[in-house]
Symmetry: C2
Subunit: 222 residues, 2 copies
């Protein structure tokens, strides 16, 4: 049984990605990061998703709070007006090199558990402004891993699998439903309250995705 | 004044690399990692080196102790018989994807402080068995950064500078002496005692380097 490390934030996209990896017949090793987020709702969701599937959850602590970013610096407000803007501008929610760092650590975990691929729920539609969400980035990352890891040097380079890369949010919701992913356990909201805010970029994209897919979102909103 | 993030472990190689970056006329941002090492002697040395130069020291906490490795797992002995072996075998002291992870985080710090290059004291002579110490790895890492970072997308890709990559240990010592690097503050020993053991691979390579360079090592040995 082939093994995959799966980047799991606890949101809709990464949970769908985990469901896909399981459906692909892989033994999965979900990995999450406590990196200075302003709240731990996502991590709690990630843990609940892992419990749901009965798989071991690895949480790596890494303090990136010294990196300038709206998502990790509580002095900067998260934006509420960018949903649907598909321009090439880099959003202020961009955490410097975040996917690079997370994929690097995932590669280390791959070597530790003898996994030969990394699943990541990156998406070019909603996050066109993030340099490290683009297909050409993942290709270059694979090339780098082929040169810089034991597996790569030994002729078995790690692969990066991006099952939802080109899906719309509605397609992601449909895929998740088909795979019976536990969407009721996921958290997408930028804020960390008892219920999702329904107003931030992430909530708006999620709600629109459910609506366009023809499903009711199963989580509660304020 | 151009800025550089410098990976600083507190050992001979990285301290020489820092000295070179300063000599190159750069504003330096040394970065070290607390990643589950078995002792903190290196980190203390790194901090003292930064104090010596009067530069800000960034220490990033990242728990890699779940990765299988002799350097982070206290149940595995460090090897004492590999010094000078220049074969292609991967040593047990190899931490999965360590340089990949460290360079990734350094890239994030670059974006945060507007640095345009990363200095790393990697060396192919003494560490030929480490995949992520080879020139072709650094080249592929630069290519990946060009695709996956804000600076890269904007046409100013980060550069990785490896000033001691092809130097022998003796050449590194000579370079450090020429640059007046504070070698008396550095720590290379795999063990964490009051004085360096003088017997582990790292001590043996260091001592041989000083001897061949025609200098006395300035640190104390047991």
């Amino acid at each position: 049984m082939a093994k995959a490390v799966v980047l799991l934030s606890g949101g809709l996209d990464s949970t769908t990605t985990l469901a896909q990896a399981i459906d692909d017949g892989l033994e999965v090793f979900p990995i999450s990061f406590r990196y200075g987020q302003r709240h731990d709702k996502e991590l709690i969701s990630a843990a609940e998703v892992c419990k749901y599937y009965g798989v071991k959850h690895t949480i790596i602590d890494i303090d990136l709070s010294s990196f300038r970013s709206a998502l990790t610096n509580s002095e900067i407000d998260v934006p509420h007006d960018r949903a649907g803007k598909l321009d090439a501008e880099i959003p202020v929610t961009y955490v410097p090199a975040r996917n690079i760092v997370f994929l690097s650590i995932a590669a280390g975990l791959c070597e530790s558990v003898d996994a030969d691929r990394i699943y990541i729920g990156a998406n070019v539609i909603d996050y066109s402004g993030y340099p490290d969400c683009r297909p050409e980035f993942f290709e270059s990352f694979e090339n780098m891993l082929a040169k810089g890891t034991k597996a790569g040097v030994e002729g078995n380079p790690l692969k990066i699998v991006t099952p939802i890369l080109n899906m719309s949010k509605a397609e992601i919701v449909k895929t998740a439903k088909k795979l019976k992913a536990p969407l009721h356990l996921t958290w997408s909201c930028y804020e960390g309250g008892e219920k999702a805010c329904g107003k931030c970029d992430s909530c708006i994209l999620r709600l629109r995705g459910f609506r366009e897919a023809g499903y009711e979102d199963e989580i509660e909103y304020m």
